[in-house]
Amino acid sequence: MFRNQYDTDVTTWSPAGRLFQVEYAMEAVKQGSAAIGLRSKTHVVLASINKANSELSSHQKKIFKADDHIGIAIAGLTADGRVLSRYLRSECINYSFTYESPLPVGRLVVQLADKAQVCTQRSWKRPYGVGLLVAGLDESGAHLYYNCPSGNYFEYQAFAIGSRSQAAKTYLERKYETFMSSSREELIKHALFAIKETLQGEKLTSSICTVAVVAVDEPFHVIDQNAITELVESFEIQEETAEATAPAGDMQEDQGQQIAPMDI
């Protein structure tokens, strides 16, 4: 990106009113492999691309269960993501133990955001370099949130983060109006299609992606690889009959340097 004299410390403002360290942390999210989330009234689905360092190594785990009713997908520094998921699990279980009741997702997300904010205002800390898609259910319904390294959080109908996520976002923007009333299977199919967009022509197999779902009658869990393979095959055939031009993914994520990219 760019270097300047205001980006050494997270506690240094630039004259334009920007915290460069925080923005650099958000860049780290964009470099991670893609993760997407979408929700209906009753279900929330998370999906992620399993990137492995080499053919010999296993891929990094990017989807974590925080509680029966909450799960997260991460993009960015996976080590930071693991630490945060440990924090989320701890908060969930402490609340459960004290109140015998599941922690409302909205509150967990605020706690997480406040934790991230602390790291943007201490000179001896650095921001977490990971973006989290938090999927959860509570009394008020199904929710999907995105937590930023900046300490901001937003609720979404559907969202994508990580590298080549713009392609997935374009797909989701086209289809999101139908999500609220979608069935579980439709949601998962949309998730797989969105993930496919980020692959840029690479073949979508069950080994390259992980899909997880949570619902009122379904605790958060990762869907079995075989089930994914079946789904992929079922719509691969449909897709061959339909037109199959992959939309040109926007690779220029470095654009937008001139405007403070606090909101994605």
């Binding site: 133990f97 004290t98 109140y99 015998e100 009741s101 409302p104 909205g106 509150r107 605020v110 509570d138 009394e139 008020s140």
Partner: protein, 243 residues
């Protein structure tokens, strides 16, 4: 005045910690039942100082948040402290301002944790608490003791109520009683307690919680009957002594 005058007699060292050894001002039974629209709870307004019926205006039941009511028997000052904990809990819950709110189940479990933790420190809160409420149509009624024993049921009684009211409730409580029937049932239990529990006084309150909210009714007295010949005139009537 010597600043340390009052402290002369006390020795504060790490080994000697302050803890509740005996209760001083106590309340007697609390009874709670589920009925059609929610929960009904009743307790008298007595605060006994040992065997003296010292205070006669003690409110032993209070609303908690939007969905629950709590009733306490045992040490009144400990109940007041519990109310402070609960007020703080509810304030923080409201401060989230996010549409979520703590229901009776959550508060019952919170209290269980508090009571059990104090018991583990050998510094119990000398109360038996009855927690009732209704949220999203789900009725909830439970109890926690000073040692952390907790459970839920359709009808709850503490203190003497355990022995005198519970058999009546077991026999006569039904699902979805009307308000009038439920009050009659509670009054029947309270009457037995009034006759037989020496710490009971004839000034009782009823508290109700429904989806609309909590209502603490004005105190009133029950009608008692003492006109038995054996009681009026034991010497000539028909009593061979008082039993």
């Amino acid at each position: 005045m010597n600043y340390f005058e009052g402290l002369e007699g006390t020795v504060s060292s790490e080994s000697d910690s302050q803890r509740t050894l005996t209760p001083y001002v106590t309340g007697t039974s609390v009874i709670g039942i589920k009925y059609k629209d929610g929960i009904l709870m009743t307790a008298d307004m007595g605060g006994s100082y040992g065997s003296t019926l010292r205070y006669k205006g003690v409110e032993r039941m209070k609303p908690v948040g939007k969905h629950s009511i709590i009733g306490a028997s045992g040490e009144i000052s400990d109940f007041q402290e519990i109310m402070r904990y609960l007020d703080e809990l509810i304030i923080h819950d409201n401060m989230w301002d996010d549409g979520n709110s703590l229901g009776p189940k959550e508060i019952h479990n919170y209290l269980t944790r508090v009571m059990y933790n104090r018991r583990n420190k050998f510094d119990p809160l000398w109360n038996t608490l009855v927690l009732g409420g209704i949220k999203n149509g789900q009725k909830y009624l439970g109890m926690v003791s000073s040692i952390g024993v907790h459970f839920e049921d359709d009808h709850i009684a503490t203190g003497f109520g355990n022995h005198l009211a519970r058999p009546i409730l077991r026999d006569e409580w039904k699902e979805d009683m009307s308000f009038e029937d439920a009050v009659k049932l509670l009054e029947k239990c309270m009457l037995v307690l009034l006759y037989r529990d020496r710490s009971a006084i004839n000034k009782l309150q009823i508290t109700k919680i429904t989806e609309e909210g909590a209502t603490v009714y004005q105190p009133y007295a029950l009608k008692t009957h003492w006109g038995f010949t054996a009681f009026k005139n034991p010497a000539n009537g028909g009593a061979e002594g008082s039993w």
